[in-house]
């Protein structure tokens, strides 16, 4: 656990200093929202349900891609500095490195998500219509979803880092695995926005939590094999 913690602290420190992860993640999320907003046209004449569906679809597509881009930096950073091999040679289980990286990725990503969600809902006309939204529940959904994304993409990032063209390869590899998370978060968000908390939401959130835990455990176990010289 010490290892995981130290790695996360270091990554957060670097992220705070260079801000490049934050910048590129934010850029990507913004770009996706914008392009989708433009492409899917105005939101005139939409029912609340339709607006909620489109908005949550766009927000989560944006976050998923942003997660892929952000996690890509997690190991690229090490690799650029020639410090990756050094990192793998420290004592302690390699699985802890994964957990540390995961925590480090989560930081900036949660920050980006905290902006993207309200922005997306507003942009697609699902918020700001005078109704009160269940923000705490939305925040919980976001947390679970972002953790799911980060867990998957961080894992694949360790694999693609030593390959060429990792920027494009990473999302391509990780995304299909993330699809369940996308489905669950989109469903939960849409339901929350349209009608508040309901048993359906509970089901989706339970599924998300289970998926997160499962992914993290599996990834921690397999990670040493992915890294090994």
């Amino acid at each position: 656990m010490n290892t995981a913690w130290q790695v996360a602290l270091k990554d957060l420190r670097v992220a705070g200093r260079t801000r490049d992860t934050l910048l590129s993640t934010g850029f990507f999320a913004g770009l996706v929202l914008l392009v989708l907003g433009l492409a899917l046209g105005g939101n005139g004449g939409k029912t609340l349900e339709q607006a909620a569906g489109t908005a949550s679809g766009a927000v989560w597509t944006a976050l998923a891609l942003a997660a892929a881009v952000g996690a890509g930096r997690a190991f690229a950073q090490e690799q650029e500095a020639g410090a990756l091999e050094q990192l793998t040679l420290y004592p302690g289980p390699h699985g802890a490195l994964y957990l540390g990286k995961l925590l480090g990725v989560l930081g900036p990503l949660l920050l980006v998500a905290a902006f993207t969600l309200p922005a997306g809902l507003l942009l697609f006309g699902a918020a700001g219509t005078g109704r009160a939204l269940p923000w705490p529940a939305l925040a919980l959904t976001t947390l679970l979803g972002v953790v799911g994304f980060a867990a998957g993409t961080t894992f694949y990032s360790s694999i693609t880092v030593s390959l060429r063209a990792r920027e494009a390869l990473l999302p391509a590899l990780a995304f299909p695995i993330l699809v369940p998370v996308v489905i669950a978060t989109v469903r939960a968000t849409a339901a929350l926005v349209a009608g508040g908390w309901s048993p359906e939401v509970t089901t989706w959130l339970t599924f998300l939590a289970a998926f997160d835990v499962g992914t993290i455990i599996l990834a921690t176990l397999l990670f040493p094999y992915a890294l090994e010289g």
Partner: protein, 236 residues
Amino acid sequence: MTDPAQRPAAQHPPALQHPALQLRDVWLRLGREVILRGVNVDMAAGDGVTLLGENGAGKTTLLRLLASGLRPTRGEGRVMGFDLRDSRSVRDHIHLMPVDGGLYPDLTCEENLAFALRMHAHTGDADRAVAGALRRVGLEHAAGRRARFLSAGMRKRLALSRAWLLARPVTLVDEPFANLDDAGRALVQELLGELRAGGGTLVVAAHEPELARAVAPRALRLAGGQLLDAAQTVNA
């Protein structure tokens, strides 16, 4: 020069029966090249070995293999009695100082050292130990500068102070004298000497046998993928 008590003692069991490093008929292939072709070696604990060889002979590769960063294609090896394939135990006992230092460009000198120390689960006053190590290599004025902005020699000094600070039972050093000024070279001899004096085993890959001799008197030469006593090869 400095109070020796300030340097953490090498962390290993006091009485060692088995050799510190042992390779038996190790072959290694990377890509389409066969780099090592049957390497055999034994080093006792506390030994100091200089690894010589032409550019491209495979010195760096051999060090990475000893650090469990590469797996032998054939043959086997032991580090402090642990099989090389048991990377987790090997990593508990070894430190590799790579040619390029392996530092984080966006962490400061201080942070780089503190990170390494904490990853080794160092207990005690890390800040004080780090400040001492930086002072030792003459980087105290650059303690807060990011590694990205260090000169080549300063980076080498930083990597050196890390090796000295961690003081693992086995320290593998890749070209410690390159990029350093005369004072820096003397410093390398001094610090590596202290590591050995503390009971550590030292393997130094270098192109400066005269400088390396002072801390690692036994010279081995890597040629044609095989490791021979340097004296032998000169005669051959």
